[in-house]
Amino acid sequence: MLTDLPPVLPSLPFYIGALLALMLRGPARALVLLAIPVIGGWQLWQHAGGVLWQLQFLDYTLTPLRIDQLSLLFGYLFHIAAFIALLYSLHVKDTTQQVAAMLYAGSALGAVFAGDLLTLFVFWEAMALSSVFLIWARRSERALRAGMRYLVIQVVSGVALLAGALMLMHETGTLAFEYIGLDGPASWVVFFAFGLKAAFPLLHNWATDAYPEATPTGAVFLSAFTTKAAIYALARAFPGAEPLIYIGAAMTCFPIFYAVIENDLRRVLAYSMINQLGFMVCGIGIGTALAINGAVAHAFNDVIFKGLLFMAMGAVLHMTGRMNGSDLGGLYKSMPITTVLCIVGAASISAFPLFSGFVSKSMVMSAAIEEGHGWIWLMLLFASAGVFHHAGIKIPYFAFFAHDSGIRTKEPPLNMLLAMGIAAVLCVAIGCYPQALYSLLPNQLAYSAYDATHVLAQLQLLFFSAAAFVWLNLARLYPPELRSTNIDVEWLYRKLLPGVARPIVAGARAAASMTQNLATHAGRTLGVHMARHQGWQMAIARNWPMGGVVLWVALLLLFYLIFPYVQAGLMR
C-alpha cells in the first residue's frame, strides 16, 4: 500500500453502473452512464502514485489490484474510451447493450489492473461474456452466428490462459502476473492465449468476422477494449520476446491487402485495426525502452482514432442503414460534420504530422531501425504507406465522396457528434502536444517526433501514397468496390470443419443409439467390478501431476465448448 486511501477496484464503479442502468430509465440512466467513467477516472487519479492490494486465497497470494505506470496508462485510456463510447451510444434505447457495455468496460479495467493470473483469467472471460451481447444486440441471424463464433474463440483464449496460468503455478509456485518470457511450454500456452485476443496472424479472423456484425455503437466498444487489453498483457509478460517482432511485422502487412478489396467499410476498419496492432506487437517484441513506449503510446492513440473511425462509420450505418462501399458515396453533401470528423480520424491513423498517430508510430519505427532491424523497418514503412491507402483514403473516400450514391440523409444525433468531436479534439491535441502523453509512458525518455527529418519523410511517404491512389483511379486501375466475401482463415472453421464434422457427427449419432443398450449393461458390470477391487485407491482417485490434469480439464472444456456448435452447425 502506497497510499492511505482504501483501494476500490476500478471495475467496481462500472459494475455498479451496470446494475443502475438495469433499473433506471431515461435521463437518470444517461446521467449514470456518463458519470461512472468520470467518477472512476477521478478515483484512479487519486491512486496515481501506485497501489498493490494483495490477499491470501488458500495457499496463494492474489493481487486483485495493481496500479503502476503501465496499468495506470491503460486505466486512464479505458476510462476515456468508455466515456466517449457511452456518450456515443446514449441515444440507444436498448438496456441489453448499455448494461453489456458497462460490464465490458469494467471487465477490461479489471483485467488491466489484475496483478495475478487468476484474477486476469476471471476478467478475461468476463470481457468475452459481456462483449458478445454487443454483437447479439443486432438481433439478426447473421449476428447471432458471428457472435457465437466470437464467443467460442474468446472463451478458448480464456481456457488457454487458465491452463497456462496453472501450469506456470505448478512450475514456479506463484500466480503473480509479471514478466513471463518465452521459456517452456507453460509460457507458450499463455502466449497463445494473449495472441488469440491480440489477433495474431492466423488467429485474427474473429475480429474481422465479429466487429462488422456488431451494432453501430457496439463496434466502438469492441474496438477499444479486448485487443488493447491483450496488448497490455503482452507488454507486461513478454517484452523483448523476439518472435513478436516478426509476428508484429506480419500483422502490419497482410491485413492491408484484404482491406483494399474489402467492401464492408467496418470490416476494412477491423483489418486496419490488426495492422495497427502489428505496430504495437512489433514494438513489444523489440523491447527497448523506446519501443515499449512507442507500443503503449500507439495503443493509447489507436483506441481514440480507431474509435473515431468506427464512430464515423457507425454514424453512417445508423443514418443510412448501409455499410458497403459499393452502396455508399457522396455523403459529404448531407453529413459534412461527420465527414470532417472522419477525416481527422483518417489523418490520425495515417500518422500525419500534427495528428496523434504520428507521435507514437514514429517511436516504434525509430526503435526498429536503432536496433538494426532493417527489413522489419521496411515492412513497417510499407504498412505505413498501406494504412494511409486503405484507412486514410479509402474509408472517407468511398463513404463520403466517390460517386454520388444518391443517398441524402442528416447528421447523426447530437450525442454521436459530440462523442466524435471529443475524440477528434484528442487526436489533434495529442498530435500537437505529445508531451502530455509521453509523461504517462512507462519509461522516462527524451523523445521528439517533430524534427525536420521525420516530418519531411512522413509527408513525402503519405503524399506520394495519395498520388498512387489518384493515379490508379484516373488510370481506372483501382479495383471497384464489389459485393463479395473474401476467403480468409475463417474458411477453415466455417467451411472445412463443418464439412468434415457433419458425416462424423451423423455416424456418431447412429453409433450412440446402437451402443446405448450395450453401455447400460457394461456400466452395471463395471461398477460392481470397481467397487469390489479398487475402492478409493483405484487409478482415477490417485494423485495426478497438476499440470497434466489441468491440461486434460482444459481440453475437456474445449471439447464441450466446441462440440455442440459443430453438431448444431453453428460454426458455419
Binding site: 478489396i261 525509430s366 521496411l378 504507406a385 454520388d404 513525402q460 503524399f463 489518384v470 473474401n486 476467403i487
Partner: protein, 90 residues
C-alpha cells in the same frame, strides 16, 4: 429547389481539377524538400534521392495491384457462407 438538385463542391469538374492541381503542387514541393533539408540517415536506402516519395508511390501501386490479383483467388459471393448453411438446413 430540392436537396437532390443542389450542386455541391465536388460536382463541378473545375473544383476537382483545382484540388488535384494543389495536390500535385504540394507533391512537387515535398520532392524539392529533399534538396533543402538535411536529414539524419539511419538506413542506407534513405540516402537515395527521393527514397520516401518513390517508396510510398511504388508500395501503394504494388499493394493495390497485388490485392486486385488476390481477388481472383479469394473472392466469393456475398452470401458464400450463408448459402451453404441454408442448403444444409433442408
Amino acid at each position: 429547389m430540392s436537396e437532390h438538385d443542389k450542386t455541391h463542391f465536388f460536382d463541378k469538374p473545375d473544383n476537382v481539377r483545382l484540388v488535384l492541381r494543389v495536390f500535385y503542387g504540394l507533391c512537387a514541393l515535398l520532392l524539392l524538400g529533399d534538396f533543402v533539408i538535411h536529414r539524419h540517415v539511419y538506413h542506407s536506402w534513405e540516402r537515395l534521392w527521393g527514397f520516401y516519395p518513390l517508396f510510398g508511390f511504388v508500395a501503394c501501386v504494388l499493394l493495390v495491384l497485388i490485392a486486385k490479383e488476390m481477388r481472383k483467388l479469394l473472392m466469393r459471393d456475398e452470401d458464400y457462407y450463408e448459402k451453404e448453411a441454408g442448403k444444409d438446413a433442408d
